[in-house]
């Protein structure tokens, strides 16, 4: 909220951009030739909320990636039931005997009621699982959405009509219900009914089901964008000069679609994190011995009246992550698309 500087800088930047566009990219004589990406980066760096949120989000990803390393240094793992070796950790009712859920210098975030696992490592690995699934689902959704959206928009005609109807139908599916209803279907495709479902298959099924319903909205958005771009002169010029459809799609259309693609996927990722945790909470996603954000909340829900501390760690960390990512998403949108209104 510092009105003078940005408003003074804005017209300058616009002229910069247009000058930069009219010149060919190879002219590097001017030291101040800035690409739209560089401009967006500059705008982003000026946004303090966005930068802080970015650090928080990066922190979560770093601890997720480094979870095994941190666990090794810390000397515990999320699977061992420490209370079975040392019964004094839990009281007669199987709740942590120490105060605050058994938090101590040895068990930083306390220990889990009943089974007595270490909360700190369980949370670390849980974040790792949840973020891994959410990132994979976001990537898959984005790729499918972009391919379908651009194809439908570019080809038009019957393909466009057909894709449009499929998207309409997908968007009238009640999404949460379908996530829970289709998880058993996907499992059934790979595993016989009586067999145990391996964790990797659960993760893959989650990614597939989340993506199967997620691509429709991004495809619809991009289709609309491509319909608009297709009629522009520069595409026509490319066609007249004999550019192949492949070249038009990759060199002419895609570079103009990066902004909506990036904005959509930053909005999608936190939604997938909460959806994945929600499914685990309902017992149809990742299930117990595998550490997961949602699994922790589901475990915590069983004894929240006696030991709320155990519930607070996964719950609060998720709120912080989602809030930071939403703020980051807003800042990214403002940086990439400064004219858009909120």
């Amino acid at each position: 909220m510092t009105p003078p500087t940005p408003s003074a800088a804005a017209p300058l930047e616009v002229t910069d951009e247009s000058v930069e566009k009219s010149l060919s990219p190879s002219t590097t004589k001017g030291s101040e030739s800035r690409s739209p990406g560089r401009l967006a980066w500059k705008r982003f760096k000026r946004d303090r909320t966005g930068v802080i949120s970015a650090y928080i989000v990066i922190f979560f990803f770093v601890i997720a990636i480094a979870a095994p390393l941190i666990a090794k240094l810390y000397g515990k793992n999320p699977y061992t039931t420490y209370a079975s070796q040392r019964p004094e950790l839990l009281d007669a009712f199987s709740y942590p005997s120490g105060p605050n859920g058994g938090m101590s210098s040895e068990f930083w975030f306390g220990i889990e009621p009943q089974l007595g696992r270490d909360v700190f490592t369980f949370l670390l690995y849980g974040i790792r699982t949840s973020l891994g699934i959410a990132v994979a689902a976001t990537l898959l959704t984005t790729v499918v959405g972009v391919v379908v959206g651009v194809t439908a928009g570019y080809l038009g005609g019957k393909t466009d009509y057909l894709v449009g109807r499929i998207i309409d139908i997908l968007l009238s599916f009640p999404s949460t219900l379908f996530f829970i209803a289709f998880m058993p279907v996907v499992y059934g495709l790979f595993v016989a009914p009586d067999e145990n479902i391996p964790t990797s298959l659960r993760a893959i099924s989650l990614i597939l089901v989340l993506s199967a319903f997620g691509w429709a909205s991004i495809a619809r958005l991009l289709r609309g964008q491509v319909l608009g771009l297709r009629e522009r002169e520069y595409i026509e010029a490319a066609k007249v000069t004999g550019a192949s459809p492949k070249r038009i799609v990759f060199k002419e259309l895609l570079p103009n679609l990066w902004t909506p693609i990036i904005i959509q996927s930053t909005l999608m990722l936190p939604a997938y994190v909460t959806a994945e945790a929600g499914l685990a909470f309902l017992g149809v996603g990742i299930i117990d011995p595998t550490p997961d954000w949602g699994v922790m909340i589901q475990r915590g829900a069983q004894f929240y009246t006696e030991d709320l501390t155990f519930m607070l760690f996964p719950g609060l960390s998720m709120v912080i992550f989602v809030l930071a990512f939403n703020l980051l998403g807003d800042s990214v949108r403002d940086a990439l698309d400064p004219k858009s209104k909120r």
Binding site: S172, P184, I297
Partner: protein, 326 residues
């Protein structure tokens, strides 16, 4: 208007038909034998075949779908299990009851939850959004905007339990969440659902605050609003009869979509507060592999979404006379 409605209803029926066909095909494509579950422990191959025949699952899938579809309109007789009257959505293997009956039992719960929450989030969400738009740039605006950002990052499965811990177990401010039919005891209906309403509304309120604010801010800067003020109309008059009327359209659209989704079952809310509504029914039938029930719930949810879409479009035309229905 009537032509529009007929056209849209027909379109909705086609969509429902396609959704039911897809759902049917996908559910029955997996190798799972519902007859096995009905049959119990001492099952002979003959009994199994008999049950399969009675349930009508010894036919190929397209025939089964056709039978199911026919059942919706003319009813169906499941030999040895019972009769299922005209709008027959199938027969639940796990409950040994027609699907529609169970859904109808659960529907009042979900409707109470959905409409109650809708009242709460409309009042708070739209109210906060209006305040923020009027006090643009002031403290109240910033507070409402940050609160809505924070609210939209909360999850029901976390907030619900924390709220129950403090407000129900510790401070005893709220009754333990439960559902009592309104006709039985309106007071306990209200007190049992109050906490679920408030929790469910938190997530939606945030969204409505943001939307109402941005819509109103845009409308308030329009020329016609300035003209109305210049004519000498009062501030309140201009705000509600001019700016708000212009801002309402998109809010009504989103509201219709949200309501449709909520009626299909607030699955996570119902699980958190152990309320036995449609959403809980869906989760239970997934865990019991009760496919006919799941199909029934799916059709109901998709139907609610499609139905509210039509209503929204019709209402939109009433609000904004520039929109023509065709």
């Amino acid at each position: 208007m009537s032509r529009f409605l007929v056209r849209r209803v027909l379109g909705a029926l086609v969509i429902l038909l396609i959704i039911s066909a897809i759902t049917f095909g996908l559910f029955y494509a997996i190798p799972r034998d519902p007859a096995m579950m009905s049959c119990g422990k001492n099952c002979t191959p003959d009994m199994l075949a008999q049950i399969r025949h009675n349930l009508g699952i010894d036919h190929p899938i397209p025939v089964q779908y056709w039978d199911w579809l026919k059942g919706v309109f003319v009813g169906r007789d499941y030999a040895g299990f019972g009769n299922c009257n005209a709008p027959c959505l199938g027969y639940s293997f796990a409950n040994r009851e027609p699907v529609l009956g169970t859904i109808m039992d659960r529907l009042p719960t979900t409707l109470s939850l959905a409409f109650g929450a809708a009242v709460v989030f409309l009042i708070f969400g739209v109210g906060a959004g209006m305040l923020a738009a009027v006090k643009q740039g002031k403290f109240l605006d910033k507070f409402a905007s940050s609160a809505s950002l924070f609210g939209s990052s909360l999850q029901i499965y976390f907030v619900g339990y924390v709220a129950m811990f403090f407000l129900v177990s510790k401070l005893h401010l709220f009754a333990q969440p439960s559902y009592t039919p309104f006709t039985e005891d309106p007071v306990s209906w209200f007190s049992g659902l109050l906490l679920p309403w408030l929790t469910l509304a938190i997530i939606f309120t945030a969204n409505y605050t943001r939307m109402t604010r941005s819509q109103l801010v845009e409308q308030l800067s329009e020329d016609y609003v300035r003209t109305a003020r210049a004519k000498g109309l009062s501030r309140a008059n201009v705000f509600f009869r001019f700016a708000w009327r212009g801002a309402m359209g998109p809010i009504v659209t989103v509201f219709g979509i949200d309501l449709g989704v909520l009626i299909g079952g607030a699955i996570i809310t119902e699980s958190t507060f152990s309320i036995q509504g449609i959403g809980r029914l869906a989760v239970d039938s997934v865990n019991k592999s009760d496919l006919p029930m799941l199909l029934g719930v799916t059709i109901l949810s998709a139907g609610a979404i499609v139905f509210f879409n039509i209503i929204v479009d019709a209402v939109y035309a009433l609000i904004d006379p520039r929109i023509r229905l065709a």
